[in-house]
Each structure stands twice: as structure tokens, then as C-alpha cells.
Symmetry: C2
Subunit: 337 residues, 2 copies
């Protein structure tokens, strides 16, 4: 089978690509493990090391090693319908749609957010429809589809009520994917991701960027701003569990998912203060003291509209796994560096 | 002020145009009654009698009569962004967005439904944004945004879960309008209409077309098919109340509506059998016997996914009015002919 990752130069995209190369296979639509022949890494930015056109041996386990995987790196605009059609054909039975304008940027640049997050998703889905392969499409949605007067625990029955352009765009892409799924054009799976922490690298335009920065920068000896109040509660998932979830989301049978294609992934519910306390326990008082509490009304308004926790029972029943605790998430981040 | 009606050649559009000419004024954004100077009637189909370029005297009541209203009729494609911009300027402070591909047609023609119902709505909203008049935009949404396992009584807290392309398109246009409203580009009002009955004229491509046909055709001495089971329950609103609701939806102050821009309009909950019984009471057994019960799985599937009733408390509190009973709705239809 051929696999496409959009947003492949992003943080999750790069990790997913490595995970798929390591794994070497994915479930086919017939429900059997099928070797990955080609992995297409698509992004608006030039690809990282793995992403250059190459052939790599899959799987470090020699018993599971199959034929080499062709890596095809393509840089372009996801709104380009002809380009998207050229990347997806009848052998493309797995698509991971990760590319998006992040929340803070989508709020600041209204036109860019709508055109990438809505039109881009539509160009991708339309290319899948034309290829007639009924690809399994794993789409990453977000806590940002919720908002307004939320219950303490968000459930599958909580109405979507986005309070940001990013959230509205994600909610609309969910509806679009669900209709393409209902029509049989794709086999869609929507994974609503908690805020990912701890991301390596530099801050980005996401309103939630601080949720990684306030851990990452202090560990690197730098100061970091926390722009939300200490009591603001976040719903968090580690990068390791996020990648596991993307692969698991693909592997699930359509029957296991049923009609409701969106799944709220498990997470950890912590206040910003509790995140700082975890950092103190893992790295000491001096490190945690590098967090500067500087409320930013613009960020606080977006982040406070997101749910602080949601019901995990459906996701757990489907086999998705949460992190044990945030201390271990910070330790895992340290051990990776 | 200038007023734009999209879908102005449609059944509701024509009636709304007549109602606005009769009325002669609408609330400005400042909350005061302002005379309508120009009424732009836009549709893909050529306009009806009123709609030809003309100047008409508003209001039959001489005490309320103001300057004549210019009627501007424009035939075109709502997806044409440049055309939409040419229709909307800084004086266009009232927009009634009624144009849509109806449910049955949107289900049968996937591309047409998405492009008119989503892209068309977007072109319209974008033209409003560019005109910088923060127009009050009244958008007609539908029972079709709901679906799946519904509670007996749908409330404002029931999640949107469309089970048709039309429903998905209406739900997405709601999200889009809500974000344009949140950003201050428009003052949006979403009215979720029950199924309108009794519509005059001929059957159309709406899955709910039979809800008028099974009353209208027997009254005209013709046979009519009812494609749903006798026990299938519908949520109904008369044309008279629908037009009242559109005008009232415009007149409400932004503060009265609050953050949740979508309002479920009041309706009557009747089974198809109860509709036939009302016809018997009003017009006799012989007329009602012209209803042929011929279940059509395609129509039944769509209609049965819609709510049979929803909580009216918010709409009633905002001053929207339901019909008294379906017998009087049929009698009102008869008296209009």
C-alpha cells in the first residue's frame, strides 16, 4: 500500500513517518497487515532528513522486515487540487492528514486559516474520492472544537461550539470528512487530540504553544512565559502517545468505530500550576523558577474556551492509551534529548 | 438601508420580498426602524413579477408610507465572488440568505450541493465582510443539521449530527456564519426552520417535498404520494409563520440573541397519519383518500433522521410564534388560493 502524510515536515508528521518506517506495515481495508510500499511525505515546508526521496529498510526487527519502503518527499500547497490528485491514487489506502494552520495563527490570519484548514482539507478529501481507493483517512482534530459553557467533563454528547476560527475550521473539516465517509468516498477517522506536551523545538503560533515551552525552555536553562492563569486547566497528551494514537486510529476496523467517526483521545487534566509543580518534582525548584507568569488576555481567552477534561471511556474501550502522569511525560522528554 | 435576499425567486424569497415591500422598513444596526431604500432580489432563476427592476410604494398603510423602494433584480451564480461583492456595499445592512440546493438534490448531486450550499454561503459572507457594514445576516438552516440517536425532544444542547450532505452543508454554513459573527464581520442570525407546509406550487427536490404535496395535490383534485410511513413524525411550520420569523429574526437585537446565534424555530409535531387526519377534518374523506401511501426508502431514511420535535422555549422567549394547529394551517392555505 501507499501511505500519504500531510504536514509531514511538522513535529508529529516527522515522528509519524519514522514510526511507520519502523513498523513497515499497516492494516489494509480488508483488515490484514499489508507492507507499506511507498510513504509520501507532503508539506508546504521542505522535508527533514528522512523525507528526502530515498529508499529505507523498514523495521529494525529482521523477522518483520519486508521490502524497502520508497520515501517520496513533495513540497507544495495542499489547496492545489491537481497536486493533491497527483499524490493519491488507487494504491493510496492510508492517509494521515496532519497539516493545519495552528490556532493562534488562524485567529490572527483569518483568510489563511480558512483556506488551508478548510479548502486544503477539502482538496485532499476530493483527491481521495477521485482515486476511488476508499482510503482510511486519519484526521487530527482538536479540543478547540468545543467551547462556551462546558460541562466539567466533556462527553461525546457535548455539542461542538468552537470559539476560535481554528476550532470552527476543525469542526467543519470533521463534518466534511464525516459526509465523505458516509458517502463511502473515504473511511474516515477523526482523532480529537488534547494539547500535545512536551513538544521539542521552538515555540509556534499555536495558542497552546506555552504548554510545551513552559517545560522545555526551563529544562534548557531558559526563561519561558506562561500566558494563562495558574489555575487554567489543560488537557494534555504526550508526543509518544499521540503517535501511538495516530497509528492505532488507522488500524481500527470501521465496525469498531461505528457511525460516530470522531474520537476524543485520552489525556491528562492539569492546571498550569500543576504542570509547574511536576517540573519542580522532576527537575527541581531552580528550573521551575524559570517560568514567568505573564497573563496574555488573547491567549487566555482561546485556551480557557477549551475543555479541561473529557470522558475517555469510548477511547479507552477502543484501545487508545493515556499517559500515566505528567512527571513521566517530562522524564520521557528529558530522556529523548 | 439596502436589503439583499438570496434565493429571491424561491417560494419563501418571493413571499419575503412582498412582506418587506409591504412593511417598508427594518431595524438598523442602531436598533431603530429605518426605511428600506433598495431591495435587491438575487437568484439563479429569473425573478417573478415583483422582482423585475422597478420602484414600488411601500406599505398599504398611508401613515407608514415612506419613499418608494427601488427593486433591483439580479440573476446569477451565488458562488461568483465578484458578483456578490457588486451586490453588497456599505448601505447593505440587511441580508436574508435563503438560497440553497434542497436536501434531496444535494444528496443526489454531491458536487452541486457542496458548491452552492457551502461555497455560495462563503462568497456571500465574504462580500459582507468586505463591505464593512456589519450587516444583519439572517440565514435559514434546517432540522437536517440534527440526526443519529436523537432525544424525544431536541434542545439547544443536542449536538449537531447531520446524516445527509444537505444537513452537513447547513451545519458547516452555521459554523462559518458564527465565526464571521464572532469576528464582527456580520451580525449573524441562524434560524433553523422546521419543514415548511403547506407550500404552494409544484413538488421540488427536497426530501420533505411530500409534506406539502400530500395536502396540496389532494386539495387540487390530484393524487399525491406519501413516501414515508404513516407513523413518521415531522416538525412543521406554515409559510405565514416562516416569513414572520425571518423578519422577526432580523429585528431582534444582538444582545437578545446572545452568543449562540442559532435559534430552533417553533413548530408543530405531527405524524404523516395525523397530517392526513387534519386534511380529512378540513376537506373531507374523499380528498384525503387521494393520498397514496407508497414508502420510498431513500426519502424515509433522510426524513426519519430529522428531529420530530424540539424544545421551543428559547424561540418563544425571543418572540417567535408557532402555528396553533395543522387544521388552521390547511385552512390558511385554502384561503390563499
Amino acid at each position: 500500500m501507499n501511505v500519504l502524510i500531510t504536514g509531514a515536515a511538522g513535529f508529529l508528521g516527522q515522528r509519524l513517518a519514522r514510526a511507520l518506517v519502523e513498523r513497515g506495515h499497516l492494516q489494509s481495508s480488508a483488515g490484514i497487515a499489508e507492507p507499506i510500499e511507498e510513504l509520501c511525505l507532503f508539506d508546504v515546508n521542505p522535508p527533514a532528513a528522512l523525507a528526502r526521496d530515498s529508499v529505507v529498510d523498514s523495521s529494525s526487527d529482521p523477522h518483520r522486515r519486508s521490502a524497502p519502503i520508497r520515501i517520496r518527499a513533495v513540497t507544495g500547497d495542499i489547496r492545489d487540487s491537481a497536486l493533491m490528485r497527483s499524490l493519491i491514487d488507487e494504491r493510496t489506502t492510508a492517509v494521515f492528514h496532519l497539516s493545519a494552520i495552528v490556532s493562534g495563527t488562524a485567529e490572527a490570519d483569518f483568510d489563511l486559516g480558512w483556506s488551508i484548514n478548510l479548502d486544503g482539507s477539502r482538496a485532499l478529501l476530493e483527491a481521495c474520492r477521485q482515486a476511488r481507493a476508499r482510503a482510511r483517512v486519519v484526521f487530527t482534530s482538536s479540543v478547540a472544537v468545543y467551547g462556551g459553557a462546558l460541562p466539567v467533563l466533556v462527553t461525546d454528547q457535548t455539542p461542538l461550539n468552537p470559539q476560535s476560527s481554528y476550532g470552527a475550521q476543525k469542526a467543519m473539516a470533521e463534518l466534511l470528512l464525516t459526509d465523505y465517509n458516509r458517502k463511502g468516498f473515504v473511511d474516515g477517522r477523526i482523532l480529537r487530540l488534547p494539547t500535545i506536551s512536551v513538544r521539542p523545538g521552538r515555540p509556534n503560533g499555536a495558542a497552546s504553544s506555552f504548554a510545551s515551552g513552559m517545560i522545555r525552555e526551563p529544562l534548557a536553562g531558559e526563561a519561558a512565559q506562561c500566558p494563562v492563569a495558574a489555575q487554567t486547566r489543560l488537557w494534555l497528551l504526550s508526543p509518544v502517545r499521540a503517535i501511538e494514537a495516530l497509528v492505532h486510529g488507522h488500524e481500527l476496523s470501521p465496525a469498531a468505530i461505528g457511525i460516530a467517526r470522531a474520537i476524543n483521545l485520552p489525556g491528562l487534566s492539569l492546571t498550569a500550576a500543576e504542570m509547574a509543580q511536576a517540573l519542580t518534582r522532576v527537575a527541581g525548584t531552580e528550573v521551575a523558577a524559570r517560568i514567568e507568569w505573564q497573563p496574555d488576555e488573547r491567549v487566555e481567552r482561546i485556551v480557557a474556551s477549551w475543555p479541561a477534561a473529557w470522558d475517555m471511556s469510548r477511547a479507552l474501550g477502543l484501545g487508545f492509551r493515556p499517559d500515566a502522569d505528567f512527571d513521566s511525560v517530562i522524564r520521557a522528554y528529558q530522556s529523548e534529548r
